[in-house]
């Protein structure tokens, strides 16, 4: 009897744990989809250092709202564009 009582809840709780893990994975997937870079979505804001006109400056993407921006990444200095 005692064994039966302890076993039963264990068997019931297992799927619950499994569901929770699945839910967490779904949440992560949902977050990933929401953060995906897509046309028609807001460009993620960032702030970083830049070299411009002989000076080191701090630059924030959102300061360029109201203007068209061409954002270009490249592998390394001393390579082509």
């Amino acid at each position: 009897m005692a064994v039966g009582c302890t076993k039963k809840p264990k068997a019931n709780s297992e799927p619950e744990v499994k569901n929770q893990v699945e839910n967490n994975q779904n949440l992560e997937k949902k977050e990933e989809v929401e953060n995906m870079i897509l046309v028609g979505r807001k460009a993620p804001d960032f702030e970083t250092e830049a070299y411009h006109n002989g000076k080191f400056i701090n630059l924030k993407l959102s300061n360029y709202l109201g203007k068209w921006v061409l954002l270009c990444f490249y592998p390394a200095d001393f390579t082509f564009v």
């Binding site: 870079i37 028609g40 954002l71 990444f73």
Partner: protein
């Protein structure tokens, strides 16, 4: 933007790029230490430890209108990037009443999406228009 520091950007601009472009690079050269911004934009290659060639056109509302990603060995066509900006600017100025079809560049005809255009694109747009 690359993973290089602003110090390296300065050296590259002052000692090489300024020999190709009078006065050096006219726009800011951004630094992305550790590829943190590249990761945000999906262009950071973990294995290489570098940002690959990603290019994003962002409109005045901060919305991404176009993107292009190349692996490192092939360079971009700058004229094509400018053509795309001109096309998106044209569409925005028309408040979305005009569309720029394949091969459009300033001076070429646009399309006016609507009931009348359905099935009639062949009348107003020719395959030759897709090419320069």
């Amino acid at each position: 933007m690359s993973i290089d520091t602003v110090f390296t950007h300065k050296m590259w601009n002052d000692h090489e790029l300024s020999k190709m472009v009078d006065g050096g690079i006219p726009f800011p050269m951004l630094s992305d230490p550790g590829g943190k911004i590249g990761k945000l934009y999906g262009v950071y290659d973990e294995d290489l430890g570098l940002d690959v060639r990603g290019r994003f056109i962002i409109d005045p509302d901060g919305v991404i209108q176009a993107m292009e990603v190349l692996s490192p060995p092939v360079g971009r066509n700058v004229s094509e990037a400018i053509r795309q900006i001109q096309a998106f600017q044209h569409v925005r100025q028309s408040n979305g009443t005009e569309a720029c079809p394949s091969g459009w560049k300033p001076g070429k005809p646009t399309l006016k999406p609507g009931e009348d255009l359905v099935g009639n694109v062949w009348n107003v747009w020719k395959v030759d228009n897709a090419f320069d």
